[in-house]
């Protein structure tokens, strides 16, 4: 009776059985590619291998549309809250429980509750994709707890997405303007469009009101703001439902125009469902609940389901359903909920949990009263408990306060709570086949650490002699226990962090962990040896571990990994998923009642096998295709395996509708803003040319529509603005992380708000990395052109466009690469710009002439744009006297005589402070000349000659020569004592550098003093005092490379200039930002955009470096600098003379102190006479330093 032609493909699918066309091998990277939606088999008859490949990469559907009405009318437990659905309702999904129930918000009225996913199909038609995505962003932003409200509402960014989404929908429908022929012809469509727009108007108005409210200086009316935010969310929801209505009408219109199609369908609007706040969102759904009586009239064959738009006639036939008494009884006044709909009352900083928490429709239930059913919460709780046990254990160890019994208790507590935590980790792993390898590894490490702790404790306890049980633990044992315990802390931290990442990835989900401690793992950790812990679980756990090992080892084929994980997951999770079966789909004539296969008691059998066939017997229970009550044994809280549950296999059961559909599968999980459902029909979501929007002359009929309220007109105008906003990508914190060039340019020239300074400076700094100067020029000109369609904003936008050009030419022009864009810019200035804005046109033309002849930038780059202002404020006032140089008369004389051709004085004769100062001044001069351009695109690594990056090159040359000089001033002495004096002097200089915050010189000197050729001089070091060695050690710790320069970063963090950071660290950071982040990213709609996040990171690194480009205020001692330069130059020449300076130094070192090394590592003979090589240094008079000063 239905014609399938002309229907959207997204409706042509059975619930959650979307056809998969990609091969398994390409799954890894396909999360947001169009064809990769993977779901349970569409029909039970599909071959098994298809089934296997289709489980590998679940896709979470953000939006579901009800195919059938769902109005449970049985008396269920008071604590159950289900969400009544009418066919056609749209639901925003928050999470999906393992048993197939989803926690969702009904967009029609904003009520939240549980709904059976088998009653629904994924909803994301291409026309709506932008709007739906915008709603998700909107929702995330409104719920954001990391941003403060004024930040969110200050710019109306969040509104732009919604408006662009509506525009996109109308554009795709050819209904952008009122005059569209389609609207002229179809009055219902026109009315629907109007209602959609008035909803949009209302939202815009509210958001403006909110903005105003925020701006009021002393606004403490949080409740008022919360109300407004709630109101906005509801309005945004309504926009979606109106949009869906509109699209339905459009589909109808389209199909009506097909000659053979006769059916007229309507989608009854379901707007008045009162909210049904769950009394307890986390309570189990009653297992005996059955679907409503409405089901009886339905025929739900698979073929039927897969038909497009099948919900419509069904719904018409069914009519309104009686409401469930229980639900209305449980209804609490909305007003009682003072908390913002969207925001966690506790203002948690943990975004993950706040994102998924079930707060929205909970009428006033304090979050603390709810059990920790969300897996992220459980993870946090278990982690905390475990850490607190370990913490008190460690604390007591350090106090040596453990008696043997208390040790046993403490270890047992720790291990048990650790076991609980592992359970949570396992649950998460079992939940998703993707990306679990890292977690599994961390988990295994943590498991091992706990074992180690227990075995350490056991050894300690067992080693006790009889009768000494109450003695305190000897300190010797303490060390081992301490190490084991801290190892636990560390491994746990990693494991939890990885798990959290995974949860972020797959989305949070519900999981019933049962009550109290699960107490497993005890025997695995060997706890029983500690005494009175009974053996709790003999077999299951081992099997579990085996399966983890298996899944960790088999890394190669995606499918097989997924399969083995599935196996273990299923084994671990069986009983929970049987607890709350989905209601049957409405169907009167059930062919058979299929008995659910009973789980074998020995779980290991399943987990050990990773073959496909083993999946079947262990599948989660299938829904019964019958309307009879489920057998009582389907739900048994006391099910023995319930206590063993340590994982959750969450799946949409493949609720296919025939009795033979035994195949279970996994799909979906929870919402992650990045993994959204690609539309089946989506193509590149570019905005069609402006010309595509028909602009017909006002007709008579349009006169009537002009009676619409003026606000609607305002929206109409807004919609007519061409925009690329939907081609921007935001992260969950609301920061823009990517976009197409037109979208970025639009943002750069936005009319509503001043562009963000960081964005602008990043754009100028890095644009050559993602587009050519010509393409940027073209994009700017395009922006200049298309804004003409929106006259009321054209003027400011065009001025901004001019300003972008101006800023580019004045301060960011690089003639060699940008020259090719000049003719375009000239032409633009002369014709287009001058025609609209004659003055700026003329100025741009002048600028264009200047840059082609100018050397360097016309106007110095604003340092403030690179985050320098804060630093410069703190500079010492310019008129403050410089500290006088610490240099004696005789030293000055020695320098003068050297200048006049005498022998050079030894560097080490001078005050270490003065040497450090002059080194710092010399380095700072180079450092301050580093330009941002030198630091882009890892240019300095490719620039062999140093012409492009002269200053970066000069920094590294200086640093290297300094190191060489230090080494040679030490090795030049044949006498042990003199070498020791030199070492001591350099340690002092290094210390002064550190006090001056010159970390570049510090690094270079430490490098020399810790070089192999110096370190091996044992006799020399024996003469250096312990105090100096300690000093060196602490200096070394500052610049040590371990943990990614952790110590050095800490020193640089918030350091007020003057300060000279170690440039090498920034160079490594920049290199890895460049290498580690892709140039582009693909959006959920399949659009490839510039990964602007990468460039923001680059700019951030560079800004951090430039922050320190502020000279020291120290007096120059030119002669001393000359001396240092000369000596470094000599060291540098020496380096060039030999192939490997370090090896040569090492050979020299071996000659001085041969040591007792038997290995003869040096292959090449010493080049040149040994004395001659270093003779230049000997001419100095370092020998007059008395040895007793060492």
């Amino acid at each position: 009776m239905l014609n399938e032609k002309g229907m959207r493909s997204s409706l042509q699918v059975a619930p959650l059985s979307i056809h998969k066309t990609r091969s398994a091998s390409s799954l890894a990277a396909s999360a947001d590619t169009v064809d990769s939606q993977i779901t349970p088999p569409a029909t039970p008859n599909e071959p098994q291998d298809n089934y296997v490949t289709s489980i590998a990469n679940p896709v979470f559907h953000n939006f579901l549309r009800a195919l059938y009405p769902f109005h449970p009318d049985y008396v269920a437990s008071e604590s159950t809250v289900t969400l009544p659905l009418s066919a056609g309702d749209i639901v925003l999904v928050h999470s999906i429980h393992t048993n197939g129930w989803a926690d969702g918000t009904q967009l029609a009225d904003g009520s939240r509750g549980w709904l059976p996913t088998n009653y629904c199909a994924a909803y994301n038609p291409e026309e709506m994709s932008c709007l739906l995505k915008a709603l998700l962003n909107f929702w995330d932003l409104m719920r954001s707890t990391t941003l403060n409200d004024s930040e969110i509402f200050g710019n109306q960014e969040f509104m732009k997405g919604i408006i662009a989404g509506v525009r996109y929908l109308l554009e795709r429908a050819d209904c952008l303007t009122k005059e569209s022929p389609l609207l002229q012809r179809n009055d219902r469509l026109r009315r629907s469009r109007k209602s959609l727009l008035s909803e949009l108007t209302s939202l815009v108005k509210t958001s403006k009101r909110l903005q105003d409210a925020q701006r009021m200086p002393d606004n403490n009316d949080d409740d008022g703001i919360n109300e407004m935010v709630d109101d906005m969310i509801l309005k945004a929801f309504r926009i979606i439902t109106k949009g869906v209505d509109f699209l339905d009408l459009l589909e109808e219109d389209r199909s009506m125009r097909l000659p053979t199609l006769t059916i007229v369908t309507t989608v009854p609007e379901e707007t008045a469902i009162p909210p049904t706040p769950p009394a307890d969102a986390v309570a189990s759904l009653d297992p005996q609940q059955q679907c409503s009586a409405a089901a009886e009239t339905r025929i739900a064959e698979h073929e039927h389901l897969s038909r497009p738009a099948s919900f419509a006639p069904d719904n018409a036939a069914v009519g309104p359903e009686p409401r469930n008494d229980r639900l209305s009884a449980g209804y609490l006044q909305e007003g009682a909920e003072t908390r913002r709909l969207s925001q966690n009352s506790l203002r948690q900083t943990n975004r993950l949990s706040s994102t998924i928490s079930h707060r929205v429709s909970l009428a006033g239930i304090p979050s603390s009263a709810r059990p920790h059913n969300l897996v992220s919460e459980r993870l946090n709780t278990c982690h905390d408990v475990f850490l607190s046990h370990l913490g008190s254990f460690i604390g007591r160890l350090q106090l040596h306060a453990h008696s043997r019994p208390s040790l046993a208790v403490a270890v047992r507590q720790s291990a048990t709570s650790g076991g609980d935590l592992l359970v949570v980790v396992d649950v998460v792993c079992a939940h998703s086949p993707i990306g679990i390898e890292a977690v599994e590894q961390a988990r295994a490490a943590m498991y091992q650490q706990i074992r180690d702790l227990v075995s350490a404790a056991r050894d300690v306890l067992n080693s006790a002699e009889p009768g000494m049980e109450d003695e305190a633990i000897v300190p010797h044992d303490n060390g081992r226990l301490l190490c084991a315990a801290t190892g636990c802390v560390k491994a746990t931290g990693e494991s939890v962090a990885k798990t959290r990442l995974l949860i972020e990835r797959i989305g949070d989900f519900e999981y019933d962990f049962g009550t109290g401690s699960l107490g497993i793992l005890a025997e695995d950790f060997g706890l029983s040896d500690l005494g009175d812990v009974p053996e709790e679980r003999p077999e299951h756990r081992r099997a579990d571990l085996a399966s983890i090992a298996e899944s960790t080892v088999s890394e190669t084929p995606t499918a097989s990994t997924a399969t083995s994980v599935t196996d273990s997951a299923e084994t671990r999770s069986r009983s929970v998923s049987v607890d709350k079966p989905l209601p049957d789909l409405p169907r009167p004539d059930s062919p058979a009642v299929e008995e659910r296969p009973q789980s074998p008691p020995d779980a290991s059998s399943a987990s050990a096998v990773s073959s496909v066939s083993s999946l079947r017997p262990d599948l989660p229970p299938l829904p019964k295709i019958s309307t009879t009550s489920l057998p009582a044994d389907d739900y048994d809280p006391a099910h023995p395996s319930a206590t063993q549950e340590d994982a959750e296999y969450s799946s949409f059961r493949s609720e296919t509708l025939t009795a033979t559909s035994a195949g279970s599968a996994r799909t979906y999980l929870s919402r992650d803003s990045e993994s959204s459902l690609p539309s089946q029909t989506s193509t590149r979501a570019t905005t069609p040319d402006a010309t595509q929007a028909p602009k017909t002359q006002p007709s008579l009929s349009s006169l009537s529509s002009s009676q619409a309220p003026t606000e609607d007109d305002e929206i109409e105008t807004k919609l007519l603005e061409k925009t690329y906003v939907h081609e921007l990508v935001f992260n969950k914190e609301g920061q823009m992380t990517g976009g197409t060039l037109p979208a970025l340019v639009e943002r750069l020239t936005a009319h509503g708000s001043t562009p963000d300074a960081l964005f602008v400076s990043t754009f100028y700094l890095t644009f050559r990395l993602f587009c050519t100067p010509v393409s940027l020029t073209e994009a700017l000109i395009h922006r200049f052109d298309y804004v003409g369609d929106a006259p009321h904003v054209a003027a400011p936008v065009r001025l901004r466009t001019y300003n972008v050009f101006k800023g580019w030419l004045e301060s960011h022009w690089r003639d060699e690469s940008d020259r090719e864009a000049l003719p375009l810019i000239r032409d633009f200035a002369e014709h287009k710009l001058a025609a609209v804005l004659p003055g700026p046109g003329q100025r741009l033309l002048e600028l264009a002439d200047k840059v082609s002849v100018a050397d360097g930038t016309l106007v110095p780059r604003l340092v403030s744009s690179m985050a320098k202002t804060a630093a410069s404020v703190t500079l010492a006032p310019a008129d403050a006297p410089l500290p006088s140089p610490s240099i004696t008369r005789s030293q000055t004389n020695a320098l003068t005589s050297w200048k006049n051709g005498g022998s050079p004085p030894s560097v080490l004769d001078f005050d270490p402070l003065e040497i450090a100062r002059q080194l710092t001044l010399m380095q700072m001069t180079i450092f301050c000349s580093i330009t941002p351009d030198e630091l882009l695109g890892a240019k300095w690594t490719k620039d062999k000659t140093g012409t492009e990056t002269p200053n970066v090159k000069a920094m590294s040359t200086f640093s290297t020569s300094l190191t060489n000089m230090v080494v040679e001033t030490i090795l030049q002495h044949d006498e042990v004592k003199k070498r020791a004096v030199a070492i001591k002097a350099w340690i002092k200089i290094a210390n002064q550098c550190s006090l001056l915050h010159n970390y570049d010189a510090l690094t270079a000197i430490v490098c020399a003093l810790t070089a192999a050729s110096i370190q091996r001089l044992k006799m020399t070091w024996d003469l250096v005092s312990v105090k100096r060695k300690e000093m060196l050690k602490s200096l070394e710790a500052i610049v040590h490379v371990s943990s990614n320069y952790k110590a050095l970063r800490a020193h640089l963090h918030d350091r007020v200039p003057p300060c000279l950071p170690f440039v090498g660290m920034f160079l490594t950071d920049l290199t890895f930002v460049d290498i580690g982040n892709p140039a582009t990213k693909t959006t959920s709609t399949g659009l490839t955009v510039i990964n602007f996040d990468k460039h923001m990171r680059t700019a951030k690194c560079i800004a951090e470096l430039l922050r320190f480009q502020i000279p020291y205020r120290l007096a120059e001692v030119q002669d001393l600098q000359d001396l240092l330069s000369a000596q470094m130059e000599q060291a540098q020449e020496k380096e060039k003379a030999v192939a490997n300076a370090q090896a040569a130094q090492f050979r020299k070192s071996k000659m001085l102190e041969p040591g007792d090394v038997q290995l003869q590592q040096l292959r090449t003979p010493l080049d040149g006479p040994s004395g001659g090589m270093f003779s230049w240094m000997r001419s100095g008079n370092a020998s007059n330093a008395p040895a007793n000063q060492i």
């Binding site: 075995s455 560390k490 690594t941 890895f1072 290498i1075 982040n1077």
Partner: protein, 209 residues
């Protein structure tokens, strides 16, 4: 009880070395970067730490890759000193990068004062077979001479990246387990005969203490 249960923290420092332009940092980035992490921030403490499973044992690797600082020649000593195992990378499309390995190894042995320091040789850019300038036989003969495993890898296609690092870990673990030659008696720290053993012991220290 397994013999490694007394070594709760198996953590190794691995240094990646090679001439500029051989793509060694791509190898590192590939290895430490979870591809499903949206955005890679190399400035945080854990940026170069990763956990691998070697023959069922968990090992934490801290990778030191001084990409971008090749011009700071004198720094290399410092970097090498902190390494317990080394990944020497050349590009199969560059003969010069292959020839540099010899010098690198000499430096490593000099600085670590250890002939048996674990090394894995990696011929990167294996996907550029048509530009090959170092034939396999040459690389393998070097591999045999040094008794160091050789992998041809491609950071671009993520071929053999994990394998090379894992093999290095395996070497490090074997070295740590070692032929158990009885408890190491107290020996003078500078006694060269005990040096190697001492190095092994040192790793048992818990790195977070």
């Amino acid at each position: 009880m397994p013999k490694y249960s007394h070594q709760p923290c198996r953590e190794f420092n691995v240094v990646v070395l090679g001439a500029g332009g051989v793509g060694k940092s791509c190898l590192t980035a590939q290895f430490v970067h979870n591809e499903w992490i949206e955005s890679y921030d190399p400035t945080i403490e854990d940026s170069y730490r990763t956990q691998v499973s070697v023959d069922g044992r968990q090992v934490v690797l801290e990778i030191l890759d001084t990409a971008g600082t090749e011009q700071f020649v004198a720094m290399r000593d410092l970097y090498m000193k902190s390494g317990q195992g080394f990944l020497l990378v050349f590009s199969i499309s560059s003969k010069a990068s292959f020839d540099e390995l010899e010098g690198l190894r000499d430096d490593i042995i000099r600085i670590k004062d250890d002939e048996d320091i674990p090394i894995v040789i990696v011929g990167n850019k294996a996907d550029l077979e048509d530009q090959r300038a170092v034939d396999r036989a040459r690389a393998f003969s070097l591999s045999q001479r040094w008794k160091a495993p050789y992998y041809e890898a491609s950071a671009r296609t993520r071929t053999n990246v994990d394998e090379a690092f894992t093999h290095l870990c395996r070497q490090l673990l074997q070295r740590e387990d070692g032929p158990d030659d009885g408890p190491a008696g107290p020996s003078r720290p500078d006694d060269p005969t005990s040096r190697r053993r001492r190095r092994r012991r040192r790793k048992e220290k818990c790195p977070i203490l």
